[in-house]
């Protein structure tokens, strides 16, 4: 392969160096759905813990078996210690699954006056937003990350490394926008209008908004219906008191993520679509100046046999089949065809990964071979961990 100054080979991503470095305090795994993101996060967490780090893994909606492998049987929203790990190097492992509604409730309870909190929790609009609407997950994942970081190092929260899995969608990076969105929302006229329509329509409001205000609120009432508008107003009004805190914490978490102690890992599968999404993530992170550690390409096809090219194997298989030999000839032909398929698949996958590296030179990459079965216990996670570390 020609190695010019433009088309360089991707540097190798050294996962062990990353997790062994005490300066690494947060690792964020992001990528599109179905690429093994949660498994990667869990395997990294376990590997770091067994090499001496005190780790907490925050997972979002993990597959049931993977959750079981970490001893998580239900949404709990607080980290639980994972037993049966090797603690001889002084490490520990906690794991938790995010419960977005409970996280939201806790924020409300912690930051609003008790009577106001009750009002918010009972508001139908709040109940819908906090439990079932898409988008909440991203905000709450970041809220939880902030909490885990804030308590880190205390007796109940002994961790010095937080490994975070992100929600399985492109909006996984929406949390990067959260501070800005909240900011523009809070400073915007719309929330003031919603939060205090009477006041805005009064003397002070008239000066700012002019006659548009009346038309505006009547339009809103027309579209939403009077009762829903009231619900929304109650909700926004009640949240208003705690929004300041929300924004501060969102800013704080954003700062935390852009600092040196954070490492973003983009996870992909060796498929065109997944790598295209990985490009999107990488570009987005770079645009925001987020510390990108590298790309993990999971599930590269495994090839065991050496010493025969795919085309030679196929030609030999054909000769065997043409020969009309015994059963062993058919079997040998099958094995040769299988080998040719495996080599070609792995070649195509590596080519796709290299194409990514050509358009994003300098980003460290690790290619992780596929495992036979899905991971459902700690041993499986250990195997993934050592594959990630390239051993």
């Amino acid at each position: 392969m020609s190695a010019g100054p433009i088309a360089r080979r991707a540097p190798a991503l050294d996962v062990d160096a990353l997790i062994d470095d005490p300066a690494t305090e947060i690792v964020v795994c992001c990528g599109s759905g179905g690429v093994g993101k949660t498994t990667t996060a869990a395997a990294l967490g376990l590997r770091a813990a067994e090499s001496g780090r005190r780790v907490v893994v925050l997972t979002i909606d993990p597959a049931r078996r993977l959750a079981q492998s970490l001893g998580l049987t239900e949404l709990d929203n607080t980290p639980l210690p994972v037993t049966d790990i090797d603690t001889s190097r002084g490490g520990s492992l906690h794991a938790m699954m995010l419960d977005m509604k409970r996280t939201f409730d806790e924020v409300v309870i912690a930051h609003a006056e008790p009577d106001k909190a009750e009002q918010i929790l009972a508001n139908p609009f709040y109940q819908a937003v906090s439990s079932s609407f898409a988008g909440t997950q991203e905000y709450m994942a970041m809220e939880k990350l902030g909490q885990l970081k804030a308590t880190a190092g205390t007796a109940d929260a002994p961790w010095d490394l937080i490994v975070v899995d992100t929600p399985p969608s492109r909006s996984a990076l929406d949390f990067l926008d959260a501070p800005n969105r909240l900011g523009s929302f809070l400073d915007g006229r719309f929330i003031r209008l919603l939060a205090a329509p009477a006041k805005a329509g009064g003397r002070a409001g008239l000066k700012v908004f002019g006659v548009g205000v009346h038309l505006m609120t009547s339009t809103m009432a027309k579209i939403l219906g009077g009762q829903m508008l009231t619900d929304v107003q109650t909700f926004v009004n009640a949240l208003d008191t705690m929004f300041g805190g929300f924004r501060e914490r969102a800013d704080e978490t954003y700062r935390l993520l852009s600092e040196k102690g954070t490492a973003f890992l983009v996870v992909a599968a060796p498929e065109r679509d997944a790598l295209r999404e990985a490009s999107y993530f990488v570009e987005r992170l770079e645009a925001d100046g987020m510390p990108l550690a590298g790309l993990v390409v999971n599930r590269i096809g495994r090839v065991s046999a050496t010493g025969i090219t795919p085309s030679r194997a196929l030609a030999a298989a054909e000769s065997l089949e043409d020969g009309g030999g015994p059963k062993s000839a058919t079997n040998a032909a099958g094995l040769l065809r299988l080998h040719a398929t495996l080599v070609r698949t792995a070649e195509r996958q590596r080519e796709l990964a290299e194409r990514f590296s050509r358009s994003h030179p300098g980003i460290p990459v690790v290619q992780v071979p596929a495992l036979g079965r899905d991971v459902h216990d700690l041993d499986g996670l250990r195997q993934v961990g050592s594959a990630l570390a390239g051993s």
Binding site: R65, R170, G188, I308, S319, T330, H339, R348, G372
Partner: protein, 345 residues
Amino acid sequence: MTTGRIDPTWARARLHVVTGKGGTGKTTVASALALALASAPAHVLLSEVEGRQGISQTFDVPPLGTDETRIVRLPGGGEVVGLSVEPKAALLEYLQLFYKLGRAGRLLEKFGAIDFATTIAPGVRDVLLIGKIYEANRRRRDGRHKGDAAPAYDALVLDAPPTGRIGRFLSVNAEVADLARVGPIHSQAEAITRLLKSGQTVVHLVTLLEDMPVQETLESIDELHAKGLHPGAIVVNMVREPLLDDTALDQARQGRLHKPSLRTQLAEVGVKVTPELVAGLLDEARDHAQRVDLEREQLALLEATGLPIVQLPALPGGVDSGSVRELADLLLPLFAPEATDRVDA
């Protein structure tokens, strides 16, 4: 290859929602399905809602915008029209269409209400995205939403959010109807919910024969049933046929494939036989046998649902605008049995 009973209510289905775990090839299957339906011949709208431009990449056409754009015309007269639904455009169009807002619409924009609705207020996005599909479903050839003119589209295919989010995505209107107990939003949300729960809408699930995608598919089917939605077909994507027969697979699994005769056969056709080659081939055969076992277990789990199952082969070179037509032909028996011409003509 198709197995399972075909639900007769499909004859009435107009809206085909395609979901699946990430990485299973949802967009490819949605694209192939749109082609298959178009071959009836029919006018088919193929929409995506996550702004990923997956459709334009599959068909190798310029990126789709918020205008409906024809992407394929079939020789028999059928066509596929593509659309990337974007919430802000959908909201403005909606307000104009149903409220004729004029100045007030611009005010909403000016006060940040549009941004609030489309980016900050969670859930509203989903309402708007489905709302646009609902509108396209009702539209007539003459552009109106009532009257006797033929429908603008004979069928609609939606490349929907992944299985993890599909239940929520499709039931968001039911929640909205609860929140807004009266008024235009309430009636609109109710009407959309009625469409989604009627026999006009079926939800197809794309999966691979792997543990996690199958698990999610099964959970999703339960969720859809519980929410009164109709699961359609299970599309098993990227299926690879075993390269060894059952006896050989059995021997490979147990490491009992006969080494000496393998060596003899390889030498017979001039392959340079080394111990590494033989050991490697046997390891590969064992992995293959284990994979085949796993796939058969997963297929049995899917068959137990009683839903029709379509299996699509793995395409060795990946998917392009040509191979998606090959997949479409495989979907014809299930989705367009009366189709006059093959898509891949």
